[in-house]
């Protein structure tokens, strides 16, 4: 019974593995498979040839048809495992296939006359091969470097602006008493729930009137003031001791100095959380950039990458490979800031 209790709290009997522990580890192991598996699947899929991508049942690893060069044949021939009429199984190379009949020869003895095999009797022999061309081809085709740089500029500048103006507003709303404070708070909270998707057209109109179309600012500015950001930072700042701010005031710090030297450094965990979300959001943003960026010089990675989606065809092999490329920076950010993120969220006054 106390073991069940311990499931509900944090202590484990030292040195003993109870069934609750086994249950927990089982759950966690399942979690690892469930959480990482799909992403691993994406990565492996991105290394498959277009044909292998569509195969069923799908193979986990990227496999391709094994071929062999046979003297007397200009092109390498496909290798198959063939069940012969006498019941024996042999590895043969396919010279040609017409309808449901395949013509095959023994690669070890190409001089022997070819035999005809019904196609059900042969099974392709395959080997692991990574289709790196999924990566190299699109890199040649589209200006990955430029799109990457644009995405980077958008992400970094937008995040800096977001952090700055939202923390300033949060500071004003957390620290000062002033006329209109409640109205400002209500405005912030009232718009907390409005998704940008539903006001896309009016925002487009505003941006167009400001003459920002086809400039990265059109992507950077509109989302910079986020109610979520203000709300999150304000909640955190409310937990800072007022004494600190008053002490700073006694120490002849100007209001700006109090904000920048005292409050900002102490709000770092919350800022880190907002930064992470801003980075993720900006890096992944698609619908809005698509609406305001039409010149390829200013494309972000997401637009460039989705250009593989045509009207009638989607070049999945390229799309998946480029998706993996855009995931790489995300994974990096995650690896380096993981601790910050996880402890940061825990501490952001989400209470």
């Amino acid at each position: 019974m106390s073991r069940v209790t311990s499931l509900l709290r944090q202590t484990r009997r030292p040195g003993r593995l109870g069934w609750t522990d086994i249950l927990s580890y089982g759950y966690l192991a399942l979690g690892v498979v469930l959480m990482f598996g799909p992403v691993l699947w994406l990565v492996l899929s991105s290394l498959k040839t277009p044909a292998a991508l569509l195969e069923f049942p799908p193979s986990f690893l990227p496999l391709t048809q094994k071929t062999i060069s046979v003297p007397g044949h200009a092109r390498p021939l496909e290798l198959h495992r063939v069940r012969l009429p006498d019941g024996s199984v042999k590895e043969l190379a396919q010279v040609r296939r017409i309808g449901i009949q395949a013509t095959m020869i023994d690669p070890a003895d190409p001089a022997r006359p070819a035999i005809r095999v019904p196609i059900e009797a042969r099974e392709p022999i395959r080997e692991i091969a990574f289709a790196w061309s999924n990566y190299t081809e699109p890199l040649k085709q589209f200006a990955f470097g430029r799109y990457f740089a644009n995405s980077l500029i958008v992400t970094i500048l937008a995040t800096i602006i977001t952090l700055l103006i939202n923390s300033m507003a949060a500071y004003a709303l957390a620290i000062y008493e002033f006329r209109g404070k409640n109205a400002a708070l209500l405005m912030v909270i009232g718009t907390l729930m409005i998704p940008i998707t539903i006001v896309l057209v009016p925002v487009f109109l505003v941006v167009t009137q400001l003459g920002l179309n086809n400039s990265l600012w059109a992507v950077i500015l509109p989302g910079a003031a986020t109610p979520t950001g203000v709300f999150l930072l304000r909640q955190y700042m409310l937990t800072l001791p007022r004494d600190l701010i008053e002490a700073a005031r006694m120490d002849k710090a100007s209001e700006w100095q109090i904000y920048s030297r005292i409050v900002m450094p102490l709000t770092l965990p919350a800022l880190a959380v907002l930064a992470i979300f801003s980075i993720m959001w900006r890096w992944n943003e698609f619908l809005w950039p698509l609406a305001v960026l039409t010149k390829s010089e200013v494309y972000t990675l997401q637009i460039g990458l989705n250009a593989f989606q045509g009207e009638l065809q989607t070049q999945w092999h390229y799309l998946l490979a480029m998706t993996v490329m855009t995931l790489a920076p995300v994974a990096l950010v995650f690896v380096f800031l993981q601790r910050f993120i996880t402890t940061g969220i825990a501490n952001t006054g989400m209470k």
Binding site: P50, A51, L54, E55, F56, E78, Q94, R97, I98, G99, I100, I119, E120, Q141, F142, A149, N150, I153, L157, V201, F204, L205, T208, N213, N214, S215, L216, W217, L290, A291, T294, K295, S296, E297, V298, Y299, I303, N306, A307, F308, Q309, G310, E311, L312, Q313, Q315
Partner: protein
């Protein structure tokens, strides 16, 4: 101080990134790609630039979604490129530039693009030359010959009916355990590939759409019935909502579809990805009570009215639409030509296998067999409204959410409402 310099440098860099240096006349063409046509176009444009040092053409490749969803908004806002590759000719006609005054040889254009120019013009206008066709598409069936052979079922002949094909495909599928005996792209355009042969006209005397005529009903009924009897799988028509497109090309490549109603644009890709896995052919469109016609369609490049350089745009267009260049474009992209002169001469497709070349020939011939009604439907300014309403509602009927009668009532209502909205001034 250093820090400040660095910051200023960064800001300048950003400013530069967002305002490119203007060299000569730079024209922009918004483009989308299904396959290699973007590369080919770039190559041709390079050739143009070499011959015309004063003009530079930038190709802005976007997801197709942006062509249909964002480009209209950008054009409406007075933004947008100098040229664009589009498919909704009727919807964007009001933004199109009339190239005629700037063209060296306008009659030549009329001669070779005549029927398609009508698609691109605003209603009532009979003279404008808005652009040219980067491809003509024509709907038609692609057949997995190997599956038919494995099942031992004979492939229906040239004048076979829809019913013949449905029966044959079902028989094949049952034998070889293919989950999709008949597959249709979930697309209004493809639906009309069936509906035209059932006698659908779509357009009333006043030029406004009247979707639910007899032929339309018959076609809709057929689609729903085929789903009920297992000839079609709900996977395509029943699995998504609204106007979403779903193709069965992946399933076809995986040898799960004996009969796939799609169109000429699939050929290049199938040639590349099916490879040696099975044999496939293109077949003529099956016959209905009215005719054996499929639907024409296609994509074209138009000039945009708001351009500051109409003469230069015309120059580029003239180059791209010229016979040798366009012929090369079709040949390298394996597109069915949307140029009457080239179509007559035939295109020497490059790098196409015998199989693909044969299929292209079938589709080329199919162009000749198109019913005038099919052209009228494609050229009507409201056609896409009807296409979208049709798949959205028939999709619901296929999913079993509404009856076919309700679906048709809804289609009429949807179309009427949208037409009214468009004509609200």
């Amino acid at each position: 101080m250093n820090r400040r310099h660095w910051l200023a440098g960064a800001l300048v860099a950003v400013a530069l990134a967002s305002s490119p240096v203007q060299a000569q006349t730079t024209l922009r063409m918004t483009w989308y790609s299904d396959g290699n046509e973007g590369e080919v176009m770039r190559d041709l444009l390079n050739r143009f630039e070499a011959g015309n040092p004063g003009i530079k053409v930038v190709l802005d490749t976007v997801p197709f979604k942006a062509i249909n969803e964002n480009l209209p908004v950008q054009l409406a806002a007075g933004q947008g490129p100098d040229m664009a590759r589009i498919v909704d000719f009727g919807g964007l006609a009001k933004f199109a530039l009339d190239l005629r005054p700037h063209l060296a040889n306008a009659p030549n254009w009329e001669q070779n693009f005549g029927p398609f120019l009508e698609w691109m013009r605003e209603p009532g206008n009979t003279t404008a030359i808005p652009g040219y066709m980067t491809q003509l598409t024509v709907t038609g069936p692609l057949v997995n010959k190997t599956l038919f052979e494995q099942a031992g079922v004979a492939i229906p002949g040239p004048k076979a009916t829809w019913d013949d094909w449905a029966k044959a495909a079902k028989a094949v599928a049952d034998k070889v355990k293919a989950p999709y005996p008949v597959a249709f792209d979930r697309s209004g355009h493809r639906f009309f590939g069936l509906a035209v042969s059932q006698g659908a006209k779509m357009i009333g005397a006043d030029g406004l759409p009247t979707p639910s005529d007899e032929g339309f009903r018959r076609a809709a009924q057929l689609i729903v019935d085929w789903h009920k009897s297992g000839v079609m799988s709900k996977e395509l028509w029943g699995s998504v909502s609204g106007t979403a497109y779903r193709g069965a090309n992946e399933e076809f490549k995986n040898a799960q579809v004996p009969f796939y109603l799609s169109g000429s644009w699939q050929i290049a890709q199938f040639d590349k990805t099916v490879g040696n896995a099975f044999d496939w052919i293109a077949a003529p469109t099956p016959c209905g009570p009215a005719n054996c016609s499929g639907m024409p369609g296609g994509a074209g490049v138009i000039g945009i009215k708001a351009t500051k350089h109409p003469a230069e745009v015309a120059k580029v267009m003239d180059f791209l639409a010229s016979e040798p260049i366009l012929s090369e474009f079709y040949a390298r992209t394996l597109f069915v030509p949307g140029h009457i002169g080239i179509a007559k001469k035939g295109v020497a497709y490059r790098g196409a296998s015998a199989q693909a070349a044969a299929a292209l020939k079938v589709f080329g011939d199919a162009v000749g067999a198109l019913d005038p009604a099919a052209y009228r439907i494609q050229g009507n300014a409201y056609s896409r409204i009807v296409f979208n309403a049709a798949i959205s509602r028939i999709g619901q009927a296929v999913a079993g959410e509404i009856t076919i009668d309700d679906a048709i009532k809804r289609i009429d209502a949807d179309v009427a409402q949208q037409v009214a909205e468009r004509n609200k001034k």
